[in-house]
Amino acid sequence: MCLETQVLIIGGGVTGTGLARDLALRGVQSILVEKKDLNAGASGANHGLLHSGGRYVASDPETAAECRKEGDILKQVAAGCIEDTGGLFVAVEGDDEKYIADFPHLCSRSGIPVRALDPSEAREFEPALNSKIIAVYEVEDASIDPFKLNLENMDHAQALGSRLLRHTEVMAFDRNRKRIQRVRLRNTKTGEDILVEPEQVVNAAGAWARKVAAFAGAPIDMIYSKGSLLITDTRLTTRVVNRLRPASDGDILVPGGTVSLLGTTSIRINSPDDIRPTVEEINAITDYGSAMVPALQKTRFIRAYSGVRPLIGTQSGQGDRSVRRSFALFDHIQDGLENFVTITGGKLTTYRYMAEKTADLVCSRLGVSAPCVTRTEPLPSSETSQWTEPGRAPREWIKNKNPEDIILCECEMVPRSVIDSIITSLRDKDDSVDLRAIGLRSRIGKGLCQGAFCGIRITAYMFDEGELNADEGLINLREFLNGRWKGIRPVLWGASLIQEELQEAIHCGLFGLEL
């Protein structure tokens, strides 16, 4: 198969899908290739925090100001993905008093609205806060659903004529002097080889950008910082809660729908592949986080997850927290390449701006003069992107009152109709259907059972519908369960360990899935 396109985008994180949409809105057609599935990297493994900028006022005022500006834009154009929770920065006894005193001035310097609150007043509307907090500032943080955001960007781009190739990996770039003439791709599921002849290539591979750039003969310096996060089984606060101190471990708690997300850590790693949260990280995050919200010592965690921050720069003596969080756009001219661009680094909050800057460069190379419109053009909601939101599926299910629509995932109340709609939309786009793909696009496997029951029910349903055949179904189920395990393993104590024991009794004791 040989495809032609104006732009080939490599990487299905939100930068890549945001770029596909930005280009499509300017009338530029693209193919986006992703070696796994959408949001498989840092775009799907973060806090879901739309930063007010307060976090970076001391270490990186430029990024702080960028966050502030982009946060305001996204609250307008991507309102459906955002819960405007507001945020707090809180200090506890023993925290650096100078940092506390400087904070409002630093915020003002980057144009970030901030308001001092009386700690007792803050505890009235956030009763989970530690009684020992000594200072509180209110900022304009919000929570954002990175899955919905990514799916909506991609859906819109596809509606405007772009293509998405999931499970498709770059194998090689064929260079002809200063141009990449052809890109050799392979479908990782079917093994099928695909050739693409693009006018421009954008490397938006996030933490894998160095690897992709190296394929093209364009070295870039990157460091990888792993961050791990925890999901609680209930929502602990209504607002985002940040620790008022220089960025460190376990100091942000972000509410997301019916749960809260606690993170993070920052651990230098050598490769972005096969990362997972560890017991040590989980212990550390829990202990630090409970200084702000003591209930974290007793709360039940559903699972943990890890992402890799792609940071631009060389190895420095300082910790990775001090590396700037702004993004980097490489034109690769000095590498002797005229149609290859790398965009990496940055933050979820600034993804749109990163896409805009990249599209500007690509369009100038293509001779396209249409301006960027993503600053004002609202992101349309799509049929398939809505089911990642906790609580959405049950609400719709109750509203529709369709008695034929039985619930297949009982923890998160995901009915058959939602599974059907996801399967249909994947099939419409000529994509493969498996439990993981459905999991990415819905809440299945994300509740208390972590796939133990719904995994089996949905497997049976997919067999019934002819979506799975022969041995494929059980391999699919095993992959799904092993995938969930990565996140469950470090939080297995208390009630979660009981749940795991039941799961193993059924899946191994009775079904012998390990044999």
Binding site: V279, D405, R457, A470, I498, E504, A505, C508, G509, F511
Partner: protein, 430 residues
Amino acid sequence: MEHFETKLTVIGTGMTGMAATLFAANRGIDTVLVGSTSEIMFASGFIDLLGVHPIHERKSWKNPWQGIAEVRRDIPNHPYARMDETDIRTAFDQALSFLKDAGLPYLRRNEQNCRAVTSLGTLKSTYCIPHTMWAGVEALEEKSPCLLVDFRGLKGFSARQIAAVLQHEWPNLRTVRISFPEMEHMEEVYTEALARNLSMEHNRVKLAEVIRPHVKGSVYVGLPAILGISSSYEVACDISDKIGAKVFEIPTMPPSVPGLRLKEAFEEQFPLRGVRPFFQKQVLNVHNGPGGEFKLDIGGDTTEFGVKTDGIIMASGRFLGGGLRADRHQIRETIFGLPVTQPSDRRLWHRRSFLDSRGHPVNRCGLEIDDEFRPLDKSGHPAYPNLFAAGSVLAHQDWMRMKCGSGLAIATAYKAVKAYSQMNERPVGP
């Protein structure tokens, strides 16, 4: 608060606690049983003895007794290594005879495991099989033409899945999906409701009428485990007659009807055999009496009964049963605070992959015991002369991976009761 005195108290109402109570009753020992009975609902219905050892080699044993001999040699601390084969055989004979009397006949090949189909389409090797599932074992061996039936609205059970997964092993499988008679209007049906429905003969007539036209050349008909509750054997025979093919059940995802049958059988039979059960209660406190006896506070949330008992068998299970509890740092035994053998650190509890063939070290943690099945204290001596432990709470076994859950429950319960009664032949106390 009411007070009772008894000779023996069994704590725990999973398979181990039920079996221990049965063996004690068989010996005429005055017995109190305490527990919440919900755990046995998770039983699949199969009674494993030993399926796999060593687990990392995935070595499956056709003859479980040979497998046990190998376990004894390789894992000297495994509970099976502390009992001889005669005791295990006696335990199984007594347990199966009880179940038969309670209307739940089981079948086995004395020296061999059998293979049965699960609802996932995998094949499970096990030792004793409910009579209602037996025809499935034979059908699989013969690879006979067989019809698998599932029901509209029954989640997690797909005949098509079973046939697809087994297509190489058993090509003669056909499937059909039907609506359960008179439940056509219901969008979702539940196994327990279907099983209660089929307890009535006229309902079986209707179901047989719906299935019969689909049987065609099939000798066997497989259904999810819904063939009645207290009289499943009669229900299965009757439906076989009515359909004109040998009907068998396929176990469904727990909690399931076969687990419910076990629960109901024990609950009904024990009072008839002189056992005093405190179902849906738990032991809240244990006190030591002056003569070496125990005093137990029993109740739901608050103490409702005081029980003075000469001896105790702990059949309190693991995490799901509540016998062990884990916090972020360590694993504790919940009733007596006995030392629990465990990995030194939570990092070592679980392996990186869920389905790692070596199993998870946390599943081998538990209580140390002596040859009389008395749990040991920190010094390595029996914590009490009259306290015994049995079942999954014991260390050095991984029943989920070795496929020895019910066997371990029944065998160790037998041994603990035997040790208790031998102790009773000696004087108790200081």
